[in-house]
């Protein structure tokens, strides 16, 4: 390991320790904000894991998140917590494989639309099931989990996401996805099984989104399909990842922190106009920062080194 890599690893551990010690200092409001940031860090980094290199804009983050939350609502009181997480993860991966097999052949705008439609389909299916089979639209999640415990689980999950993303970026799979993102035809003629590589990453990404939903479920005591499968979450994840820069490991984090604060202020101050501002922020990001904050910083560094 080079000295620079060692320094980065040490900085990462220090940041993780800092994030994990936060519950010792914050009050309830800060805890809620920290949970929000940790949750979106997991979601945006997991999103960028697949969509960053392949440039497939996925709008189905909330489909997996919601499935995680619902698994906990249904099984939370029946099984031990680690087992509940394992079942949630397995369902998320299974759905990702089925969806991936049928949709990852689509490219560009078709994939975007399909992924959005998928999230809505899952929401409608869950609603139908609840109304016709369970005979009740909402569910109560009575689990004895503190805010601190939720936060620490999310931080741990974020650490795992970063480690996995880091390992994939250095692997042949990571290179394969960057090649696919540049030119899928060339990728295939280099011997890359493009369909399998995309499917594998889509499933890994979905696993983390599902687990985030499962960990977050006890926060709400009451959930229904509208809460658990709220499409705004999918859009927020895309905006955060794009603002930060989906092509870099810590890029999404740079977008999550400022936007989590911004959305928090917006929803408190302008509850009726938050969606409008969300759209404006999205447009501003795409125009002003096409590679995100991380890309801009890298460009500045290169320019500084050149002059």
């Amino acid at each position: 390991m080079t000295q620079a890599a060692f320094a980065r690893a040490a900085a990462g551990c220090a940041a993780l320790a800092g994030a994990a010690s936060l519950p010792l200092f914050g009050d309830g409001y800060h805890m809620a904000l920290a949970i929000n940031i940790a949750n979106y860090t997991v979601l945006a980094t997991a999103w960028a894991l697949f969509s960053g290199p392949t440039r497939y804009i996925s709008l189905c983050t909330v489909a997996f998140f919601g499935i995680g939350a619902y698994t906990v609502a249904v099984l939370g009181e029946l099984m031990a917590w680690p087992l509940v997480l394992a079942v949630a993860g397995a369902i998320g991966v299974a759905l990702a494989l089925v969806v991936g097999l049928s949709t990852l052949r689509l490219s560009g705008i078709y994939f975007v639309i399909f992924s959005f439609g998928l999230a809505e389909l899952v929401r409608q299916l869950v609603t139908w099931f609840e109304v016709n089979v369970s005979r009740s639209v909402g569910r109560y999640v009575f689990l004895d989990v503190t805010q601190q415990a939720i936060y620490l689980q999310l931080v741990a999950l974020a650490a795992v996401v970063f480690l996995v993303a880091w390992a994939i970026r250095r692997s042949r799979l990571g290179l394969a996805l960057r090649i696919i993102g540049d030119d899928e035809t060339v990728a295939q003629h280099c011997g890359i099984d493009a369909a399998r590589a995309k499917l594998a990453l889509f499933a890994v990404s979905a696993l983390f989104m599902t687990l985030a939903g499962a960990i977050m479920a006890p926060r709400w005591t009451y959930i229904d399909p509208v809460i658990a499968f709220n499409p705004v979450m999918s859009f927020q994840v895309v905006i955060m990842a794009l603002l930060g820069g989906p092509g870099r490991l810590f890029g999404p984090l740079l977008g999550v922190v400022p936007l989590a604060f911004l959305f928090d202020i917006l929803s408190a101050q302008f509850p009726n106009h938050a969606t409008l501002v969300l759209g404006l922020v999205f447009m501003a990001i795409v125009y002003a920062l096409p590679d995100g904050v991380a890309g801009m910083l890298a460009r500045r560094r290169r320019a500084g080194a050149a002059s």
């Binding site: 042949r172 394969a176 960057r178 090649i179 540049d182 030119d183 035809t185 990728a187 011997g191 099984d193």
Partner: protein, 248 residues
Amino acid sequence: MTAILALDGVTRRFGGLVAVDALSFSVAPGEIVGLIGPNGSGKSTALNLISGALAPDDGAILFEGAPIAGLAPHRIARRGVARTFQLVRVLPSLTCVENVVAGLAFRGDRLWGAAAERAARELLARVGLADETRAAAELTYVDQKRLELARALALAPKLLLLDEWLSGLNPTELQQGIALVRALRDDGSAIVLVEHVMAAIRSLCDRCVVMSAGAKIAEGAPAAVLADRAVIAAYLGEDAGAEAAADA
């Protein structure tokens, strides 16, 4: 010697258009075969059928005696068939070294890590690219062509498909390009060359297959087929074909 590549009655239709019509030819190991013909005669479609970018509607394609028609392109690439594209296709956001590692890392006998980077630098030097740290998008057109060839060579191909790789080069670059292709053949690759540059065809090809409107109209040594009446007619029209016959 058995052929490394054999096409037998290969046909591909696009709607009502028969782009490749019952095409049959074979390539021996170490041979350079030119695939020539006027624009729209189906040469690039034929390459796409061999490399797996398209599946034939009919006919058989054998590589080293095994059928490959309709296999996914990555499977054909792993067996040892590499190609370049008519409109040069590099991976713009990757560096030159990474572009070549793309070819090394996923082939049957794969290379990764430091060994792959070393091999990539050697291949870049071989095609005449010295500065390998730049992003591929920053290269000139000619250097992008070189990079694309290095990526194809990274697959250690037994059969190399070059789609107008020598087009658009200036006279000096053309001479270097011709020498490079010849050196590749001497290393043991069989090569199928789709080309319009006649100087390259004459000096490189052992044999030419001439296509017109999707079908093979002539096959033989370059000098012989280029003087063939049907070939001249296909390129220049019926009158020119008749005149050439009268001159002969």
